[in-house]
């Protein structure tokens, strides 16, 4: 195969994959704009009625607020747990990294459904608010994302020298970290925060099983609507999808903005 032909084949494959993965999403979007679409190939008509109905319902705002606070708290806890450790591992003690690797496979060996079993066995009878346990558990399960994104932020610069100069100049370690290190890894921190927030925002398994559906977050609401009111659920799914797309767009922009100068130094070194 000539390179040109193989590029054409590659484009074809990617286009096919794209259509395959996007079809369910596109169909849900069309469904959310349809007056009704039951047992027909095409919807009967188009309307915005379902959007105004859902957005106007008081439940909707309450649900968003709950998921938003869950996402925010989780992000803060994940950052507090990991920022110091990833910094320390990268700057002072790279051996720690090999021990941290277990965290990256954690969601595969102990997925949410397994973790929640242990959490219920341990905490069901204890007088600790379940919501605290929930936030901590979601933070733990989002750690791989946080870890990877933060770890990438430390590639390619001498943070040790920066940090120690600040210490020599009289800053306390904490102050030096906030003033000198954070500004230099802010892109990585931002990416890590966005990824953690998104995963907590859309959490379902832990929230549903640990709190028994009493704390209605986005996905739990979506599931309830799905059983009772397909149209409303499709609107919620579409809004959720637009939210995900928006986050992805920000991520793409951050990566393009920050990776551009990085790349040119790499190429310069090659020459």
């Amino acid at each position: 195969m000539s390179p040109k032909a193989s590029t054409r084949v590659a484009r074809g494959i990617i286009t096919f994959l794209f259509i395959y993965l996007a079809t369910p999403i596109v169909v849900t979007m069309i469904y959310s704009f349809s007056t009704s679409w039951v047992k027909t190939i095409l919807p009967n008509g188009l309307t915005l009625k379902w959007y105004s109905e859902l957005v106007a319902s008081p439940e909707f705002m309450a649900v968003l607020l709950r998921s938003f606070s869950l996402g925010l708290l989780t992000t803060l806890i994940a950052m507090a747990c990991f920022l110091p450790v990833v910094f320390y591992a990268n700057v002072y003690n790279p051996q720690v990294k090999s021990h941290l690797r277990f965290i990256t496979v954690l969601p595969f060996t102990i997925p949410g459904i397994i973790l929640v079993t242990g959490l219920i066995q341990l905490y069901a009878e204890l007088p600790i608010p379940k919501i605290i346990i929930l936030v901590l558990a979601i933070s733990l399960l989002s750690l791989p994302l946080t870890y990877q994104a933060l770890d990438n932020a430390f590639i390619g610069r001498d943070f040790r020298a920066m940090f120690e100069q600040a210490l020599v100049l009289g800053d306390s370690p904490f102050k030096a970290f906030v003033k000198v290190i954070i500004p230099n890894i802010r892109a990585g921190v931002l990416v890590a925060m966005l990824l953690t927030f998104t995963s907590a925002f859309g959490e379902y398994v832990l929230t549903n099983l640990l709190l028994g559906g009493n704390f209605e977050t986005l996905k739990i609401y979506m599931y309830r609507l799905m059983r009772s009111n397909g149209q409303a659920s499709s609107v919620l799914t579409t809004i959720y999808f637009i939210f995900l797309a928006f986050i992805s767009l920000i991520l793409i922009l951050i990566m393009q903005h920050y990776s551009a100068p990085h790349k040119s130094t790499k190429e310069g070194a090659k020459k």
């Binding site: 993965l21 039951v38 047992k39 929640v116 079993t117 959490l119 901590l136 979506m222 499709s234 793409i252």
Partner: protein, 274 residues
């Protein structure tokens, strides 16, 4: 030493509180009989009750088929991705990332609109006077559903591996007179194979642990290990948390072994390289 303690304290506390302690308690509970004494009764139930072995069989079947199919598609997809322009690559990777976070309730709902009883696919079949051939709430339907997040996940794992392959190798081997097939079999395949095995174990483990999509798609009509655990925790009268702990313990052991093996394959390759 003191700063080190401070650095690791928050993470350590988190890991102890919501990972080590619950998992330890879970393992202990799995050996408890109804009256609280030590017994293997729960384990005996897992292997001897037909409904439970069915859950294990279903989980293994769906996960194995879904991860093999997804792996094949992901290999082709990741290869195709390396052939595109750098900017397109970045955008597509973000899109794949996004579509894998669409898994769960939203995915199940979309598939019901597409393939459900009142869905578009059935309408199409009826209009064309064809028999109903595909049931989304079935084993094969669930397997199809899994591919929607397994494929993008596989591509995201494999793409960096393929991206690292050096295009110069191909030139060198063709200068030395190697045929493309020979090159593929003797150069590319040995380098990539360990990674493919590792990605396969991750995809398999991911499918085995899938609760949200299965539950949202089939309710409790299709029983897998995760949905069974969900029922045992959540099921009101039929709730049996110690038995859920038994299933969860077996699951965690089995998955740790598999992921460890998968990791081992790539690790040994790295050591040889060094």
């Amino acid at each position: 030493m003191k700063t080190r303690l401070k650095v690791f304290f928050p993470l350590g506390l988190l890991v102890v509180l919501v990972l080590l302690l619950p998992i330890t308690v879970m393992i202990i509970a799995s050996f408890q009989s109804a009256d609280g004494s030590f017994s293997l009764e729960n384990y005996h139930q897992v292997v001897s009750t037909r409904y439970y072995t069915e859950a294990i069989r279903n989980s293994l079947a769906i996960s194995l088929v879904a991860s093999v199919i997804s792996l094949i598609i992901a290999i082709i997809g990741a290869w195709a991705l390396t052939r595109l322009a750098p900017k397109t690559k970045n955008i597509l990777i973000s899109l794949f990332n996004m579509s894998s976070s669409f898994a769960g309730v939203p995915l199940a709902f979309s598939l019901i609109i597409l393939f459900g009883n009142a869905g578009i696919w059935q309408a199409l079949m009826t209009a064309l006077h064809l028999p109903r051939t595909f049931e989304i709430y079935s084993l094969s339907g669930t397997t199809l559903a899994y591919t929607f997040f397994e494929v993008p996940l596989g591509i995201m794992f494999l793409f960096p591996v393929f991206e690292e392959l050096n295009p110069e190798w191909k030139e060198i081997s063709s200068v030395l007179g190697a045929k493309p097939m020979f090159f593929f079999k003797k150069v590319i395949f040995p380098v990539v194979l360990p990674n493919i095995v590792e990605v396969f174990t991750l995809l398999f483990a991911n499918a085995m642990g899938t609760y949200e999509t299965t539950f949202a798609l089939t309710g409790n009509s299709l029983v897998t290990i995760p949905t069974l655990i969900g029922t045992l925790i959540d099921g009101g009268l039929t709730a049996n948390v110690p038995l859920a702990c038994t299933f969860a313990t077996l699951f965690a052991l089995f998955m740790t072994a598999i992921v460890w093996l998968g990791n081992r394959v790539t690790r040994s390759k790295r050591e040889v390289k060094a």
